[in-house]
């Protein structure tokens, strides 16, 4: 089982769109795949038209194993399942504090899923909290979407520093650029500067209004608009990532 987190301290950088599209691509080549929506906003759950069971909550999520299993739902796509987020997830950090080893909680809770899913994606909320630390421990790869701007890069550096200070494995971190607009000089310069660097994937995802329309399609772009520039970029990004994993 490989676990991939789509994570960024900053919001609005394309975490959910990336999680949904990459997970969809994974379900085609490495079935079955699970998306864990960890963001109380529940954006990836919304994209898949899934609402959690009424009795499901952050408490059940923290109990793990069977409680998680019983709340996984099938999406409209073969071999792609989702553990939806509940609004109570906003309390996850406080609840994690009550746990004995909060940093290891997520890793432990998904252990049972090992036999069923070769790939699990975490769609993370935008902050750096105890839940984030639990995600860092549970993930094999931490994919960080970045808009090619200075602020985005700054948060990437902050994340890197945090890993070093807390003696976490920095080799898990992989940045990649999203919402790239070629007409913008700054975007071009930043992408050029970082392309080929060790911590970055080469493929960039261009700005594409189709990505915003995922909210209307409520489906992965690669399923409904596979020829759109962003879908093609996600396909190539997935292939690049698979090449690294292999």
């Amino acid at each position: 089982m490989k676990t991939i987190a789509l994570y960024s301290i900053k919001g609005g950088v394309g975490k959910t769109a990336s999680a949904v599209n990459l997970a969809y691509l994974s379900s085609l080549t490495q079935p079955p795949t699970l998306v864990c929506d960890l963001d109380p906003q529940g954006a990836s759950s919304f994209y898949f038209r899934i609402v959690p069971n009424k009795k499901y909550s952050s408490r059940k999520f923290l109990k793990g194993d069977k409680k998680i299993y019983n709340n996984i739902k099938g999406t409209d796509f073969d071999n792609l399942d989702l553990l939806p987020a509940d609004f109570s997830y906003r309390n996850l950090d406080i609840e994690l504090l009550e746990e004995k080893k909060p940093q290891k909680k997520l890793k432990k809770n998904i252990e049972e899923l090992n036999t069923e899913y070769p790939f699990i994606f975490f769609d993370c909320p935008p902050n750096l909290t105890l839940l984030s630390e639990s995600v860092f421990t549970a993930s094999d790869i931490i994919l960080v979407p970045l808009i090619p701007t200075t602020l985005s890069l700054r948060t990437f550096e902050q994340l890197f520093e945090f890993f070093k200070e807390n003696k976490l494995d920095t080799s898990k971190i992989r940045g990649f650029f999203t919402m790239f607009e070629r007409r913008k000089v700054m975007h071009r310069e930043i992408v050029e500067e970082y392309s080929g660097k060790k911590r970055f994937l080469n493929r960039t995802v261009p700005y594409n209004s189709e990505v915003e329309k995922m909210g209307i399609y409520r489906a992965p772009l690669n399923a409904v608009r596979p020829n759109s520039p962003a879908a093609i970029a996600y396909q190539e990004l997935w292939e690049e990532l698979m090449g690294e994993i292999d």
Partner: protein, 518 residues
């Protein structure tokens, strides 16, 4: 842990339709109809129906190869498969897990397309208020020669996490005026097979005839030979099709079994007939020797390559190409023989000999009237003692000739145990065969490795001494060396394996076998 649900199957009458919406207490659904389409189901299984016998259905449709649990209709694997081959091997499937599942069903047999059945499918997605698919309904019509008898099945496919909704939809379907009753995937698949005129066969290469211990041995032997003849007939038409190597293998084993019965029950058939058929089946077996040897080499091509250093492997290619060509030629010749008048007459004559009444004149067939159980006990006892006697006589170095002879003794004993299986208690017989099998495996490996070395040595000595052939000869030489070391290892293990067979526990098992029939 797996909490996914099984699909549900219902049978319905032919005016079945679904409304656009319906309300169930607490849940409201809509049905989204999809266009009606024709869909061909291609049914695959091995010749011996390994999939079916292990509750697995291998169905190809929508350009996907699906392995479905026969008992509950649950999809075990579904992978892209763009061809519709007449037959395929597990290795032809790209997906490793699926290939491995098929390989576990059958290691050597090909999966054959038994039939392609054109069906008509109407489907609906069942959507909740968020337009999320919570289940799908599929109405499939399976043709029949008689239009009025065509069968209609509704399949309700579950979506994980929507179990309650699935049950609610199922509940509504049961109230439908066209609902006939609940059914299963097994019934559905049986209907598909019936539409294609396909009957899963309980083929087995081993003869199983329920013998009556009190019947005469002549009667029992005839039954056994007829059953073995059935195996010959079942396989002969498939050999020329080059689907897999097991048709020829089973055919050869059936011929060997026939010869073995004839050789061991000499005084129960008229001598002139016995001599005629013994001779005919010996010749028939001989005709297939080269073919089988070539099959074995070709099956082991990868293993042979792996025995050599990487740099020497490529030089072995001409050997396998040459072997492949020889095999084609040999198969053509044997296939011609299988359709020849001579072969047809032999089989016809043999069948009528077995089916007609035979002489039981004590002067010609003195043992014909003996009781089956008596002959079973005495012949097995004799064959077992022979194995023990010859095995104990084998020298410390265990020569090739000694091991080869013991292998034949063991084979004879094994055939007898199989022939008379129905006369003995099954549990003891199983244990006896298990003990013998281990010894046979050792001897079989030894003889196979010897034959392979001889063949390669022979091949090498006929190779022209040219500069081009040097790497090729070196590879063959390397292979002979590797096989030699393997064989010596097997030889070293012989005495240990034989001692395991020749011990009081095995003797007690044999005596237990005879006790009931003594």
């Amino acid at each position: 842990m797996n909490t996914s649900l099984d699909p549900l199957f219902f049978s319905v009458s032919d005016t079945f339709d679904l409304p656009t919406h319906f309300k169930h207490p607490g849940i409201s659904f809509s049905f989204h109809a999809e266009p009606v389409k024709k869909e061909t189901l291609h049914c695959y299984d091995t010749f011996d129906w390994k999939g079916w016998n292990k509750n697995n259905t291998i169905l190809l449709y929508r350009r996907r190869l699906n392995i479905i649990d026969l008992k509950n209709g649950r999809e075990i694997f579904s992978v892209s498969f763009r061809k519709i081959p007449q037959s395929f091997f597990p290795n032809d499937v790209d997906n490793k897990a699926t290939a491995s599942k098929l390989f576990n069903l059958s290691k050597l047999r090909a999966f054959i397309c038994y039939g392609s059945i054109e069906t008509e499918v109407r489907s609906w997605k069942v959507l909740d208020e968020n337009q999320k698919t919570i289940t799908s309904v599929e109405l499939r019509s399976i043709p029949s020669s008689n239009e009025a008898q065509k069968k209609l099945f509704v399949k309700l496919s579950p979506v994980r996490g929507y179990g309650k909704e699935l049950q609610a939809v199922a509940g509504e379907l049961k109230k439908h005026p066209e609902y006939v009753g609940k059914t299963t995937f097994t019934d559905f698949y049986k209907a598909v097979l019936a539409a294609g005129g396909i009957v899963p066969d309980n083929y087995s290469s081993k003869p199983f005839v329920k013998l009556k211990p009190s019947n005469t041995i002549q009667d029992s032997a005839r039954k056994l030979l007829l059953s073995t003849f059935g195996v010959i007939q079942a396989n002969e038409q498939w050999i020329p099709k080059t689907i897999d190597t097991e048709f020829l293998h089973d055919y050869r084993v059936a011929i060997r079994r026939t010869r073995s019965i004839l050789a061991q029950l000499k005084r129960i058939f008229p001598p002139e007939k016995l001599s005629r058929y013994s001779q005919a089946f010996r010749e028939l077996g001989k005709r297939t020797n080269n073919l089988r040897d070539q099959d074995v080499y070709l099956l082991q091509a990868e293993r042979f390559r792996a025995l050599l250093p990487v740099t020497m492997r490529e030089s072995l290619d001409p050997f396998f190409t040459d072997l492949g060509n020889r095999h084609k030629k040999e198969l053509r010749a044997f296939s011609r023989y299988l359709v020849s008048e001579k072969y047809r007459l032999l089989m016809q004559e043999w069948k009528s000999f077995l089916s007609n009444d035979m002489s039981s004149d004590p002067a010609i067939t003195p043992d014909a009237r003996k009781k089956t159980s008596d002959v079973a006990v005495s012949s097995i006892q004799k064959a077992w003692k022979k194995v023990i006697r010859h095995g104990r006589e084998i020298s410390r170095i265990a020569t090739d000739t000694e091991l080869h002879a013991l292998r034949i003794d063991c084979k004879k004993l094994r055939y007898l145990l199989e022939f008379y299986a129905s006369v003995f208690p099954a549990n003891i017989l199983r244990m006896v065969v298990c003990q013998l099998k281990e010894l046979q495996e050792n001897l079989g490996a030894f003889v196979d490795l010897s034959v392979q070395q001889d063949y390669l040595n022979d091949y090498l000595s006929n190779l022209q001494c040219t500069a081009e052939n040097t790497p090729f000869a070196a590879s063959i030489g390397g292979l002979v060396t590797a096989l030699y070391h393997e064989r010596e290892q097997v030889r070293m293990n012989f005495h240990k394996t034989f001692d395991k067979f020749d011990r009081p526990e095995t003797e007690a098992l044999f005596n237990g076998l005879f006790k009931k029939n003594r």
